[in-house]
């Protein structure tokens, strides 16, 4: 500190004051609205539930133990993870070709195509669920055509099933994957592909040996994003899975409505912690693979 003069120090302090004045209000709002409430919720999750008193102040891991020792809650937990993994894999498979075409196209409609990908992203999940309900219902488009084509004799009910939920979540998350992959592919120069081709590589070989390894680090970002979104899905499982179908976010809300706040809070933290652990694992795994 002695190496800088007093005036420099004053200037630095003035800058620090300006900076904190500028960033202060936003920080205050987010800290008050996110950090504070999350800490309070964490405290709630250690309390106990009583049917008459609703919540008893305590300091116990009872809610967490109950969650992990009850097959009912555990099956919800595993269903959520299974569906999220499945949806993420499908998103990569469906997303890569579209992202590639969007990244490489010279078409003047490129921007319009991107808007076509972004609009579904911002149209609420409930609205999109309504579209799936029209398509998948027992008297909907798909069922009627399956009968007309003689594939089935009776109306098929695809609604209120795991299939419907997976279809719905993939449609919700696919735009995120496509947009992430598109920017990743755009950052990989076209000439690298051309080099592979001119050395005689077939398209699949080029993809496997050149494009995919180069795109992998960026792809991880898309994978993590879509996985998190699937883990947190609420409207899609509620509307397309029906009341019998269970995933974590709907369970948090249901337990809340049943007035069991401590348990609901514990489920919330199980959801966030497991999502965090799995995304960190995914990050480590790709980094190791990348090093090989």
């Amino acid at each position: 500190m002695s190496s800088i003069t007093l005036t420099e120090r004053r200037k630095l302090r003035a800058q620090g004051l300006t900076a904190s004045g500028l960033i202060g209000p936003a920080t205050f709002i987010v800290a008050l609205g996110v950090l504070g409430p999350l800490l309070l919720l964490a405290r709630y999750s250690l309390n106990l539930y009583d049917p008459r008193e609703l919540m008893i102040s305590a300091f116990s891991a009872q809610n967490y133990i109950e969650f992990f020792s009850d097959t009912y809650y555990l099956s919800t937990f595993w269903t959520t993870i299974r569906i999220s993994l499945l949806c993420t894999v499908i998103c990569i498979v469906l997303g890569f070709p579209l992202a590639y075409v969007l990244a490489r196209t010279q078409s003047r409609y490129k921007n319009l195509m991107i808007i076509g990908v972004v609009i579904p992203l911002f149209v609420g999940n409930a609205v999109r669920a309504a579209g799936w309900m029209t398509l998948l219902g027992s008297r909907g488009f798909l069922s009627v055509w399956l009968m007309r084509l003689g594939i089935t004799d009776e109306p098929v009910e695809i609604m209120y099933s795991e299939t419907a939920v997976v279809l719905g979540i993939v449609a919700v998350n696919l735009p995120y994957m496509v947009l992430t992959l598109q920017s990743v592919i755009e950052s990989i120069g076209r000439h690298i592909e051309e080099a592979a081709f001119s050395l005689g590589a077939a398209p699949m070989v080029m993809f496997r040996r050149v494009l995919w390894p180069l795109a992998l680090p960026g792809t991880t970002a898309g994978v993590i994003l879509t996985f998190i979104l699937a883990m947190n899905a609420y409207a899609t499982p509620v509307l397309l899975g029906g009341p019998e179908f269970r995933m974590m976010s709907p369970m948090i809300y249901n337990q809340f409505q049943l007035n069991n706040w401590p348990f609901s809070a514990a489920v919330a933290f199980v959801l966030m912690a497991s999502t965090l652990v799995l995304t960190v694992l995914a990050g480590i795994m790709t980094r190791q693979k990348f090093r090989d």
Binding site: I29, V101, A130, W145, L179, I252, A268, M272
Partner: protein, 272 residues
């Protein structure tokens, strides 16, 4: 097969696969739009005919009009407040190096990462405790709902304004100040106009994410009150018919227009 024809085949397969994904994304929007034009009320295929009457039914539905008005009011207010705090925050993050710089930058993006249901629940219990502690009527209040939505707007606006600040040439500011402009004039006449695209895009994205928010609002609305996404969810849990489809189509149109407007300011491919 020659290498060239293999590449043509590859190209063709690729385009077909891309079209398929694009179609998949559009399917829900196509079908909900189609349903909104059915003549009969029951959503069974094939339609008996086509009609526009569900649109007039949708516009006449008071529950949905109220919900729409609430969503619009909350969205506009939250966007204005969010913008007012996010713009200075983005400037600070861009211009100054200070202790905890990276941590604060991440903190401001946090509302996007916490699951919507968890954030809503946490805010709810926080409001309960604050109301008990202070006696102020916070729970289910309009102010409480707007506060929650400001949290949704901040990450989008900070992110997009930061992006446009990164591309801004600061020597322009020095030039203006050398020519005698004060700090405020420089900001108003030089900095503002060049980062305006980022501000507009941030505001529109913030508004759209507030307008479409479902999970958090579920916890924060007063009993009997709804926002548009909640009204749509509750209706769909009960039944699906052309009226709700027409309402959905109106929402799709509003968002499409908002995005097309945004696209005129900033290329969407660069900000999402």
């Amino acid at each position: 097969m020659t290498a060239l024809s293999r590449r043509h085949l590859g190209r063709w397969t690729l385009n077909a696969a891309a079209m398929l994904s694009f179609l998949y994304l559009s399917i829900p929007l196509i079908f909900v739009t189609w349903l909104s034009f059915y003549r009969q009320e029951i959503p069974s295929y094939p339609p008996e005919g086509y009609s526009l009457r569900w649109y007039s039914a949708a516009i006449a539905n008071e529950r949905f009009i109220d919900a729409f008005a609430t969503s619009a009011k909350v969205g506009i207010l939250a966007t204005i407040i969010g913008l007012a705090v996010a713009l200075p925050a983005a400037l600070a993050l861009n211009r100054y190096r200070f202790f905890g710089h990276a941590a604060l930058g991440n903190l401001l993006l946090m509302p996007l990462i916490v699951p919507g249901i968890v954030l809503g629940f946490a805010l709810y219990v926080f409001q309960v405790e604050t109301e008990i502690a202070t006696g102020l009527p916070i729970m289910g209040s309009f102010g409480g709902l707007v506060f929650g939505h400001v949290l949704l707007v901040i990450p989008w606006t900070v992110r997009l304004i930061l992006a446009s600040l990164a591309g801004f040439d600061r020597t322009l500011e020095e030039a203006a100040m050398n020519l005698g402009a004060g700090r405020l004039t420089t900001f108003r006449r030089v900095t503002m106009p060049s980062i305006l695209p980022g501000i507009v895009a941030g505001a529109l994205f913030g508004f759209v994410s507030s307008f479409g928010n479902l999970e958090m609002s579920l916890f924060l609305v007063a009993p009997g009150e709804t926002t548009l996404p909640i009204a749509i969810l509750q209706y769909l849990q009960w039944r699906i018919d052309p009226t709700i489809a027409a309402i959905s189509v109106l929402q799709i149109l509003i968002i499409a227009v908002a995005l097309l407007v945004t696209d005129r300011f900033v290329k969407l491919s660069r900000v999402v």
